[in-house]
């Protein structure tokens, strides 16, 4: 029997199809009627607006910016441009949109999971480099909130692409138990000037001076408040405590966005990025007994070598022999009090960046999607 290899090929981009409408209001309502929105009104994607968007990017109409392999869906530059117009993007944003689509489409990112899972993650986009300033991407006050067009519409484009091109409709293919407002849009720039460290993109291998996006499947952010100390260890203790929250504890990743005030404390103390990552990893743990009492250890964990490794990688004396049995998952033994289970598998699982207003000791921690390893951070350069 021959497999349907035709499934790997795509019909050529043909005539653009669309619908005729009488006036802008009718156009907006027509988009609602067809389920083409995220719940907010969209800009009607006319031929002229889509052409202008495409002309601003380096891609040809039929270039595939994102291929989702589980369902074999390919999003071309033209479809991305239609959704970018609808989201409210200016044409000059399109290079960032395209790079972000390429990042979430990287096979390592395994988009199908975060796009559909009950975990209900948002697609976080962190922008570095000169393009952030050129597009007025907000890295300052209220950077996760409303008010900045580039932040709002670049992030929104990713969600519209998921809804319209990958059919991730709520309750159908998007099975988010609750979701969260970051799913409308979650895009911001790193405040490179306020950061004590090299740009996030440079730490991830992008040459200095180039623009880049870093994507992450994020659960809702936790505000980390601290106004009473400039001492790095006392300050970071608040962050480690947030990272070790039982509800979100997992072998997955973390994103920490330091407010400038907190970043200044770390700068003055001379703490490097790797030192902060290491300190947070070392201190963000709960005892295995705590995990078991909280019902966080499932019987199936003990049949998965990766999860057994996570639970016991910092256990005194190493992994227990004989290995624990599934029925041990629910029983907190006295020895489990001394087993430290860390968030993530190592310091590299904690991504550190900087952003926010000049005033206020309010930083943020975003846990990764999933109770497992989640998906990795992916960084892509934005084409010049």
């Amino acid at each position: 029997m021959t497999l349907p290899t035709a499934a790997r090929q795509y019909r050529a981009v043909g005539q653009r199809s669309g619908i005729d409408v009488g006036d802008p209001w009718e156009a907006i309502e027509a988009c609602y009627a067809r389920g083409w929105t995220d719940g907010l009104p969209v800009v009607p994607p006319t031929d002229a607006l889509v052409d202008r968007m495409l002309a601003a990017g380096p891609w040809a109409t039929g270039d595939v910016l994102l291929h989702e392999p589980v369902r074999d869906r390919a999003v071309t530059a033209e479809k991305a441009a239609i959704n970018a117009v609808m989201a409210g993007c200016r044409p000059e944003y399109f290079a960032v949109v395209g790079a972000a689509l390429q990042a979430i489409g990287d096979p390592a990112f395994m988009l199908h999971g975060p796009a559909t899972s009950t975990g209900g993650s948002a697609l976080m986009v962190i922008v570095n480099g000169p393009i952030a300033g050129r597009l007025d991407l907000n890295a300052g006050a209220n950077l996760f909130g409303p008010g900045a067009r580039a932040n709002a519409t670049i992030g929104r484009t990713l969600r519209l692409v998921l809804l319209n091109c990958l059919d991730c409709r709520p309750g159908v293919l998007d099975k988010s138990t609750q979701g969260w407002p970051g799913k409308y849009s979650l895009c911001f720039a790193e405040d490179e000037a306020q950061s004590p460290w090299e740009p996030l993109s440079v730490s991830r291998g992008v040459p200095v001076g180039r623009s880049a996006v870093t994507v992450y499947a994020a659960e809702s952010g936790h505000n980390v408040l601290s106004h009473g100390t400039g001492d790095p260890e006392r300050l970071l203790a608040c962050f480690a405590d947030a990272l070790a929250g039982l509800g979100s504890l997992s072998p997955g990743r973390s994103v920490v966005v330091f407010a400038p005030e907190h970043a200044q404390h770390l700068r003055r103390a001379g703490w490097t990025r790797p030192r902060v990552q290491q300190w947070l990893y070392d201190h963000a743990w709960r005892s295995l007994a705590d995990l078991k009492r909280g019902g966080k250890v499932e019987p199936a964990f003990y049949t998965n070598p990766d999860l057994v490794d996570w639970l016991y990688r910092d256990a005194p004396g190493g992994r227990p022999e004989p290995p624990p049995a599934p029925e041990d998952a629910d029983r907190a033994a006295p020895a489990d009090e001394a087993v430290r289970v860390h968030r993530g598998l190592g310091p590299q699982d904690i991504l550190l960046t900087v952003g926010g207003g000049a005033a206020g000791g309010h930083s943020a921690f975003f846990p990764s999607w999933s109770r497992g390893r989640s998906v990795p951070f992916v960084t892509k350069e934005v084409p010049a």
Binding site: G18, V21, A30, P45, T76, N83, S117, L160
Partner: protein
């Protein structure tokens, strides 16, 4: 009159030439494939289904495949094995 463009993949791209396989009229004696999607209890759920399919429909051989990660595609090897050997395939997510 203004034209607005379709933002979905209904018109422009997508897997071409995919057709539904013909449906068997009965399951007796047929080889049934099981594809667990990679969540921890998918195969347990399929095991329960197989038991009932055996009782009620007298199915034949069973071929098992499991994704190692729910976010990843099925491997080409598993797709080929299931397609070659099975008359029907049942898939399950079991979380």
């Amino acid at each position: 009159m203004t034209r607005i463009l379709d933002p979905t993949l209904a018109d422009a791209a997508g897997p071409a030439a995919l057709r539904r396989a013909p449906r068997p009229r009965a399951l007796r004696g047929l080889t049934v494939g099981l594809l667990a999607n990679g969540k921890s209890n998918g195969m347990a759920l399929l095991d329960g289904i197989v038991e009932r399919l055996r009782e009620r429909h007298g199915i034949g051989e069973v071929v098992r495949a499991a994704k190692t990660n729910a976010s990843a595609p099925v491997s080409d090897e598993d797709t080929e094995r299931l397609a070659k050997r099975c008359a029907v395939v049942v898939t399950a997510i079991g979380d």
